[in-house]
C-alpha cells in the first residue's frame, strides 16, 4: 500500500516512516510543507495520504486545507489527518462530502502501533477512523439534551466504537462479545435512532456520525 506522508517535525516524520515501513507500507513521499504536499498529491497516486493539520509555511491549518483540496480534485482519495488537538469543527469539514475514506486522529494514537495501523488500513479501504475524543465530544453535547434514543449502556458502547469507524469484528474483540451480538446491538441502535439500515459498514458509520453531529 502506497503512502504520501506530510509532517513538519522531523522526529515524528521519521518515526512514522519507520513504523509504516515496518508494516509493509510503501512511502511514496514524506514531505514537510503544504506546497510540497499539494505537489506530491497531484503527481503521485497514493492509496492514502497521512497528513498533519498544521504545516509550514503558514503554520495554520494548511495540511487540512491541502487534504480537502486534494479530495476535491480526486473524490474519495483516502486521507488520514493527524493533529495535536481534535476539533469537532474539523471533523465536520472532513466528513462533509460524505464520501468516506476519512480519518481524523490525535497524534497520541501512534503510540499504539497496532490500532494506528488498523486505522490507516481502514481509511485506505474507504472506511472511517474518528478519534475517540471527537466521539466523546459529540456524545457529551448530546447527553444533556436527552439520553440518546433510549440506548442501553452496552448499546451506547457499541455505538461509540462504531462511530470511531471500527468494524463489527473489532468491536466484538474490544468488548469481548460475539460478532453476532454486536450485529444484534447494531440493528437495535439503528432501530432506536430511526436510521436506515445498511449492510455497508462505512455508510453505517457515516450515518451514526451524522446523527450525532446533527444540531438538536
Amino acid at each position: 500500500m502506497r503512502v504520501v506522508l506530510a509532517e513538519d517535525l522531523f522526529l515524528l516524520r521519521d518515526g512514522l516512516v519507520r513504523m509504516l515501513e515496518a508494516y509493509d507500507f510503501e512511502i511514496l513521499a514524506a514531505v514537510e510543507s503544504g506546497p510540497e504536499l499539494t505537489r506530491a498529491l497531484a503527481e503521485l497516486t497514493p492509496d492514502i495520504a497521512v497528513v498533519d493539520v498544521r504545516l509550514p509555511p503558514s503554520h495554520t491549518d494548511e495540511g487540512l486545507q491541502c487534504a480537502l483540496a486534494a479530495r476535491q480534485a480526486r473524490p474519495g482519495l483516502p486521507v488520514l489527518v493527524l493533529s495535536q488537538h481534535v476539533e469537532q469543527l474539523y471533523a465536520r469539514e472532513l466528513l462533509a462530502d460524505g464520501n468516506g475514506g476519512v480519518g481524523y486522529l490525535l497524534k497520541d494514537r501512534v503510540f499504539d502501533a497496532d490500532q494506528f495501523i488498523d486505522a490507516v488500513r481502514r481509511v485506505a479501504a474507504g472506511g472511517t477512523a474518528m478519534d475517540p475524543q471527537v466521539i466523546s465530544q459529540l456524545l457529551s453535547r448530546r447527553a444533556r439534551d436527552r439520553p440518546i434514543g433510549g440506548l442501553t449502556p452496552r448499546e451506547r458502547e457499541v455505538m461509540e466504537l462504531m462511530a470511531q469507524g471500527r468494524s463489527n469484528a473489532a468491536i466484538a474483540a474490544q468488548l469481548v462479545i460475539t460478532e453476532r451480538s454486536v450485529a444484534k446491538h447494531t440493528s437495535n441502535i439503528f432501530g432506536k435512532l430511526g436510521l436506515p439500515v445498511s449492510d455497508d459498514d462505512n455508510r453505517r458509520v457515516l450515518a451514526v456520525l451524522a446523527y450525532l453531529d446533527r444540531d438538536s
Partner: protein
C-alpha cells in the same frame, strides 16, 4: 420636505421647548445655589453643601451630554476626575471631597457652562419653539385678529398690521417664518448642544490626564493578569507534565534494571511509562488550549468561536461576519472574552440556547453573546463579568450588559481594532 423630515422638525421643536424649560429652571437654580454655597465655604456651611451641589450640577451636565448624543448626535466626553479610592469618612472626608471638587477645573467650567446655558443656550433652545409659534400668529392675524388693531397698527415683524390686506401680508411672512422654523428646528437644537460642548467637554489637557489615568489602570490590570497567568502555567507544568516525565524516566530506569531479570515486570512498567506519556500529552494539550487555543492560531477568531460553541453543553448558534483577521493579541483577548462570557452563561443563566454574533464595522470588532436564560446578570465585584471588563479594558474595549430579570441576557463587547 417629506414626512420623516417634518416629524424630525416637530420633535426638535418640542425638545427645544423642554430644553429651554430645563435650562431656565435647572441651570439658574443650580448656578445660584452653587455660587452661594461656594461663597459660604469660609463660614463652614459651604463645605457641607458644596459637594452635594456640585454632584447635582454634574448630574445636570451629564444629562445634557446624554441628550446631546441621543437627540443631535453631538458627542461630549465626561471630564470629571474620579475620587481617589481612599477618601476618608466623616467631616474630614467631607472637607477632603470639597477640596478635590474645587481643585477639579471641570467644576469651574461647569459653572461657566451654567451661565452660558441659562442665557444664550436657553434662547437658542426656545427659538426652535418660538419661531414657529410666532409664524402661527401671522395666520391668526390674517384670519381676523387684524380687526383689533384697526386704529393702532400692530407690528408683526416688519409688517404694520391694520387691515385685511396687511393681515394677509403678515400671513405670508408667517409662512416664510414657518418654513424657516421647520427647516432649521433640528439645526437650532444641534447648535444648542454645540454651544455647550466647548465647556462641557474635557480640555485637551484634561482629556490626556483622564486617558493616562485609564491607561495606568488598565496596564496594572494587564500586568497583574499576565503575571497570574504565568504563575498558573508554571504550576500546571510543574504538577502536570513535568511530574509525568519524571515518573516516566523513573519507570524507564527501572525497566533498564529489570529487563533481563524480570521481563514480565519490565513489560508492565513500559506500559506504565507509555500511559504517563499519554497523560502528559493530554495535560499539555489542555494547557496549550488555555494559553492560545490551536484553532485560533490555525483558523482565526470566527472558527475558534465556532469550535468553542461545539464544545458547550448548551446548543449555541454562531454567526460570523468578519472580512479579515484582527491582530493576534486582539483575537486572543476577544476569544477568551467570549469563552468567559459563554462559561458564565452555562454556569449561571440556566439557558436552553445561546447566540453568538461576531461582526466588524467602523473600526470596531463587535461581539454579542445572547442567551434565553433567567437574566439578572450584573457587572459587579467578583462576578465573571467584571473580569471580562478588565480583560477588554487593556484593548480599550468596552462591555455592556442588558439582563432584565427573567431574561434574556445580552452581553455586548466592542474592541477597537483593524482587520487585515
Amino acid at each position: 420636505m417629506d414626512g420623516w423630515k417634518i416629524r424630525r422638525s416637530l420633535s426638535a421643536i418640542w425638545r427645544g421647548l423642554a430644553l429651554s424649560f430645563v435650562t431656565l429652571v435647572g441651570s439658574i437654580t443650580l448656578f445660584v445655589l452653587t455660587v452661594v454655597s461656594i461663597a459660604l465655604i469660609p463660614l463652614g456651611v459651604g463645605v457641607l453643601t458644596t459637594p452635594a451641589l456640585v454632584a447635582a450640577v454634574r448630574k445636570h451636565a451629564n444629562q445634557r451630554r446624554l441628550l446631546a448624543a441621543t437627540w443631535s448626535d453631538v458627542r461630549i466626553a465626561v471630564p470629571y476626575r474620579p475620587f481617589p479610592p481612599d477618601v476618608r469618612g466623616g467631616i474630614t472626608g467631607q472637607v477632603e471631597r470639597c477640596t478635590l471638587l474645587l481643585k477639579d477645573p471641570a467644576t469651574w467650567r461647569d459653572l461657566q457652562w451654567l451661565l452660558i446655558d441659562m442665557t444664550v443656550g436657553s434662547v437658542i433652545a426656545l427659538l426652535t419653539f418660538a419661531l414657529n409659534v410666532y409664524a402661527l400668529e401671522g395666520f391668526v392675524l390674517a384670519a381676523g385678529l387684524w380687526r383689533v388693531f384697526r386704529n393702532e397698527p400692530y407690528w408683526y415683524g416688519f409688517v404694520p398690521v391694520d387691515s385685511q390686506l396687511t393681515g394677509l401680508a403678515a400671513a405670508a411672512l408667517g409662512l416664510v417664518l414657518l418654513a424657516l422654523g421647520l427647516r432649521f428646528a433640528s439645526d437650532l437644537l444641534r447648535l444648542h448642544f454645540l454651544l455647550a460642548r466647548p465647556l462641557l467637554a474635557p480640555t485637551h489637557g484634561e482629556a490626556l490626564a483622564l486617558r493616562i489615568e485609564r491607561l495606568t489602570e488598565s496596564r496594572h490590570d494587564a500586568v497583574d493578569t499576565s503575571a497570574a497567568e504565568l504563575r498558573r502555567i508554571e504550576r500546571d507544568l510543574h504538577d502536570g507534565a513535568q511530574a509525568r516525565l519524571v515518573a516516566m524516566g523513573m519507570d524507564l530506569g527501572t525497566v533498564e534494571a529489570l529487563i533481563e531479570k524480570d521481563p514480565a515486570r519490565a513489560k508492565a512498567l513500559i506500559g506504565q511509562a507509555r500511559q504517563s506519556s499519554a497523560e502528559a500529552l493530554t495535560e499539555l494539550r489542555d494547557l496549550v488550549r488555555g494559553i492560545h487555543p490551536p484553532v485560533l492560531a490555525e483558523r482565526g477568531l470566527g472558527d475558534a468561536v465556532k469550535a468553542l460553541a461545539l464544545r458547550l453543553p448548551v446548543p449555541a448558534e454562531v454567526s460570523v461576519e468578519l472580512t479579515g483577521r484582527a491582530a493576534a493579541p486582539v483575537e486572543s483577548a476577544a476569544y477568551f472574552a467570549v469563552s468567559e462570557a459563554l462559561t458564565n452563561v452555562v454556569k449561571h443563566a440556566g439557558a436552553d440556547r445561546i447566540w453568538v454574533d461576531l461582526s466588524y464595522g467602523e473600526g470596531m470588532l463587535r461581539i454579542a453573546v445572547t442567551d434565553d436564560g433567567g437574566g439578572g446578570a450584573v457587572i459587579g465585584k467578583g462576578s465573571g463579568l467584571s473580569g471580562l471588563e478588565r480583560r477588554l479594558g487593556t484593548f480599550d474595549g468596552i462591555l455592556a450588559v442588558s439582563s432584565p430579570a427573567g431574561g434574556p441576557t445580552m452581553v455586548t463587547m466592542e474592541i477597537p481594532c483593524e482587520l487585515s
